[in-house]
């Protein structure tokens, strides 16, 4: 009776009044689902703690956060795009372009702060274009941002002429991320501020609420008075800006920049968001979930390093765990319906 293509099985036509039992059960299942990725994450964390003495050390954990700071920022903003019913495949290219722009300006002896600011603004601008094309021009977000990713990577290559931009003579550029505050790198502080701000934005503001509405049922949202297109453009702008910030952070961390489309970064970001439990169909999700999802993926890589496992298996493990995590999520949704 239900077509196989339906992602959510049609709920049986009971339309029963929500009895106390039913509601309680929904609540329990909701909680369980909310836990979703957290449980596998904790299990992995405990296993690694036991298996490797160097895992649960401050140095290692901070190192993970430092390495993941760019990814976490992009993924936090990407969550807003997915919740709003879009998708952004251009974040890798924006990340690359912003890093290149900031580095190029720094090489031309602009003050580091200004170069960094311009880099981030480039990201916002790219996001604005993404958003307008994907909404007002009625081109699907998938195609629009995919096309943008080529354009932006191309622009980046024009700027660098295909070379690696080296910033070793501009040490001030590294202050953005290498400054130690309470013994923790400023890259991590930047990441924390950006991720928390994005999380609060989605969870507590009117625009955040509109994002859930726009992604969950755009027609209903529009009739309820939500400016769906505006909301979606905002989500793409934040995603672009976040990718710009991330690109600048990484350029500062490694003191170099190179133009690439960074598609593996784009897909790691998407993987983290989805593993965290944010729906690729829009209307559901949360930033904290994405953080757990990204860190889950990061722990797998870290575990391979620490345990000296054959890195050739790392990607296979990642893929299998993703299918398990997402499958579990889909299964629990099916049961809920």
């Amino acid at each position: 009776m239900t077509t196989g293509a339906d992602t959510t099985p049609a709920p049986p036509e009971v339309e029963a009044p929500p009895t106390r039992v039913g509601r309680a059960q929904a609540l329990v299942q909701g909680r369980w689902r909310a836990a979703g990725i957290v449980i596998p994450f904790l299990i992995l964390f405990v296993v690694l703690t036991i298996a490797s003495s160097s895992f649960a050390t401050k140095a290692n954990l901070l190192n993970i956060l430092d390495q993941q700071s760019a990814t976490l920022i992009i993924a936090a903003a990407g969550t807003l795009v997915l919740v709003s019913g879009g998708i952004d495949l251009s974040v890798g290219s924006i990340y690359g372009l912003s890093g290149v722009v900031a580095a190029e300006l720094a090489i031309h002896n602009w003050p580091a702060g200004l170069a960094i600011l311009v880099g981030v603004l480039v990201g916002f601008a790219a996001g604005l274009i993404n958003g307008v094309v994907a909404t007002y021009f009625r081109i699907s977000a998938l195609i629009a941002t995919l096309a943008m990713s080529f354009v932006l990577a191309g622009i980046g290559s024009l700027i660098t002429q295909g070379n690696l931009l080296n910033l070793f003579t501009h040490q001030s550029f590294s202050q953005l991320t290498r400054t130690s505050i309470f013994t923790v790198n400023s890259s991590i502080w930047l990441m924390a501020v950006a991720v928390i701000a994005l999380g609060l934005f989605l969870a507590a503001t009117t625009t955040g609420r509109y994002m859930y509405a726009a992604g969950g049922n755009p027609e209903a949202a529009r009739i309820a008075g939500v400016r769906v297109n505006v909301v979606r453009v905002v989500s793409f702008m934040l995603s672009g800006g976040a990718a710009g910030l991330a690109g600048v952070i990484d350029a500062s961390r490694v003191l170099s920049a190179q133009s690439q489309d960074n598609s593996s970064l784009t897909f790691t970001v998407l993987a983290g968001i989805v593993v965290g439990g944010t729906s690729i169909l829009g209307g559901e999700g949360a930033v904290w979930r994405t953080v757990v999802g990204i860190l889950f993926i990061a722990l797998i890589g870290n575990g391979y390093d620490l345990l000296g496992l054959n890195p050739l298996y790392e990607q296979i493990t990642l893929g299998v765990l993703m299918i398990l995590a997402v499958g579990l999520d889909a299964w629990s949704r099916g049961r809920r319906a």
């Binding site: 029963a16 049922n217 949202a221 209307g283």
Partner: protein
């Protein structure tokens, strides 16, 4: 009521269900329900929303499996694990939402999955011949080569009926078959159902429409809260007895008393020469405290007019003026800010945010009321929401539960609560009681009349003529995109509305 071959006492039983139980989560959808369907009869199953009638139909058709109980076919125990298994035993189902493949032709749809074939290739000639034989037998005039998606709902339904006949189905389960049909198509459907029983087929009819049930069915089973109330020959039932059985109590008067419109009340909505896709030169006025009914056939342009007024669709020409001025730039947000709200036609597609909580659904249109610097004040939000939810009488205090967990009636009330929060002076209510059970219907009627009593102007769209007659003080009838008639007072009768709805005259013409 001439019933074909009614109440012949010793018909053979084709399908028998014994003590069927079915749970969904913690909800008991069916509780020890037993029915038997006899050959060559129409067996109706009725009940309020949530009574379990669709569930029962799905269990017979193999789409759901019972938790306990037995199904007997010709006296032999069977169990269906899928609709496919039920089909091979002679039971076909036609769901509420029709399942045709839009790009495939009519004939291909009929034989979908059972195409005459040779070595994996479909034999087109044979397919065509079989289709013509089958359609001829059933008396359907369907174009075999047209893509099914281009056909009207009623014709798509005929495709499904043919599909069932092509598989030699002996029992066809029909879930609300006339819900989406126009009046003449419904008449035609009833003829088809009668001819099916003549040919010895049985029909299990799940329906909301009591008149339809009384007219068509030989036997009627009433369900309430998943339990069997009783099964009786239809000849022993009337609308009253059925309603009483469904509700477990007599229904009070179907409609609240009408209040007379105040003389000289100011106009709160004025539409002049509005054209939009599906709407031609529509003009109308709604006064303060007035309920204006907008009647017409499905596809006459009522919802299109509503959407154009509200600004959900683009207007081609014309003006919409509210009490406080022009609504030149048409957009839902602008309308809401100017005091014009709309309850959309389809609760599910245009109204609710399915995954979100009751609270989110109520407050989405007016988050600005309880937020400062863009940050939502949850306490103020909850207080405001509970105020309007109390007003519309949604029981149960868990506003954090997903709105999809509510019954159809409560979901509709959530949309009313959302609208109330906007404090409109004019409300367009498009099919506000569609898919809502009898009890909740009355509550919605009370609400509409109450709001009008407080001065809200209401434009009420409904396909149920009784609803229009029972609530509206004035009726506009649409046909082919135009408002063809305006009826007041004594002129407001079912026959006048139907006559106008079927007419093709242009605006302004009165139908006597």
């Amino acid at each position: 009521m001439a019933r074909v071959g009614s109440v012949a006492p010793s018909r053979r039983v084709f399908v028998e269900l014994r003590e069927i139980d079915k749970h969904f989560g913690g909800v008991r959808a069916l509780d020890a329900v037993s029915i038997s369907v006899e050959e060559g009869t129409v067996h109706a199953v009725i009940g309020e929303n949530g009574a379990g009638k669709s569930t029962l139909g799905k269990i017979i058709a193999g789409a759901l499996q019972p938790d306990a109980g037995e199904i007997l076919l010709d006296g032999e125990l069977v169990s269906f694990r899928s609709p496919r298994e039920a089909l091979s035993s002679g039971i076909a189902a036609i769901a509420q939402e029709l399942l045709v493949v839009p790009r495939l032709s009519v004939a291909e749809n009929v034989f979908l999955g059972a195409e005459p074939r040779r070595g994996g290739w479909v034999r087109r000639g044979a397919l065509r011949r079989r289709f013509e034989a089958l359609a001829g037998e059933a008396g359907f005039a369907l174009p075999p080569d047209r893509p099914a998606g281009l056909l009207r709902t009623a014709e798509q339904q005929q495709i499904e009926i043919l599909r069932a006949l092509a598989r030699d189905a002996r029992l066809i389960v029909m879930d609300e078959p006339s819900a989406a049909l126009s009046e003449p198509d419904t008449v035609r459907l009833h003829e088809i159902i009668r001819s099916l029983t003549h040919a010895g087929k049985s029909v299990l009819l799940v329906s909301h429409f009591l008149r339809e049930v009384l007219e068509l069915a030989d036997t009627v089973t009433v369900l309430r809260d998943g339990k069997l109330v009783h099964t009786k020959p239809t000849s022993q039932e009337t609308e009253d007895t059925l309603i009483r059985a469904m509700l477990g109590r007599p229904l009070d008067a179907a409609f609240p008393p009408k209040s007379a419109p105040r003389a000289g009340a100011p106009v709160v909505l004025s539409v002049r020469d509005l054209s939009a896709p599906g709407v031609v030169d529509a003009s109308l006025e709604v006064r303060e405290g007035e309920i204006v009914g907008l009647a017409g056939l499905v596809g006459a342009g009522r919802s299109e007019l509503a959407r154009a007024i509200f600004g959900a669709d683009r207007r081609q020409k014309g003006e919409v003026e509210l009490a406080d001025g022009d609504l030149a730039s048409a957009a839902p947000l602008v309308s809401l800010r100017h005091g014009l709200a709309m309850i959309p036609e389809s609760r599910k597609d245009q109204g609710l945010l399915p995954g979100r909580s009751v609270l989110d659904n109520v407050t989405i249109s007016r988050l600005d009321q309880f937020s400062r610097f863009g940050i939502v004040n949850r306490r103020a939000e909850r207080a405001a929401a509970s105020r309007v939810l109390d007003r519309v009488a949604v029981k149960g205090g868990d506003y954090g539960a997903p709105v999809s967990a509510l019954s159809g009636g409560n979901q509709q009330k959530v949309l009313f609560a959302r609208m109330l929060l906007c404090g409109p002076r004019v409300l367009i209510a498009d099919e506000p009681t569609r898919g809502v059970d009898v009890g909740a219907k009355r509550a919605i009627y009370d609400l509409l009349v109450g709001l009008a009593g407080e001065g809200m102007g209401v434009l009420l769209i409904s396909s149920e003529v009784e609803e229009i007659l029972g609530l509206a003080q004035r009726v506009l009838v649409m046909s082919r995109g135009r408002i063809v008639s305006e009826l007041r007072g004594e002129e407001m009768t079912e026959s006048a509305i139907l006559a106008a709805a079927f007419s093709e005259r242009t605006a302004g013409a009165r139908v006597p």
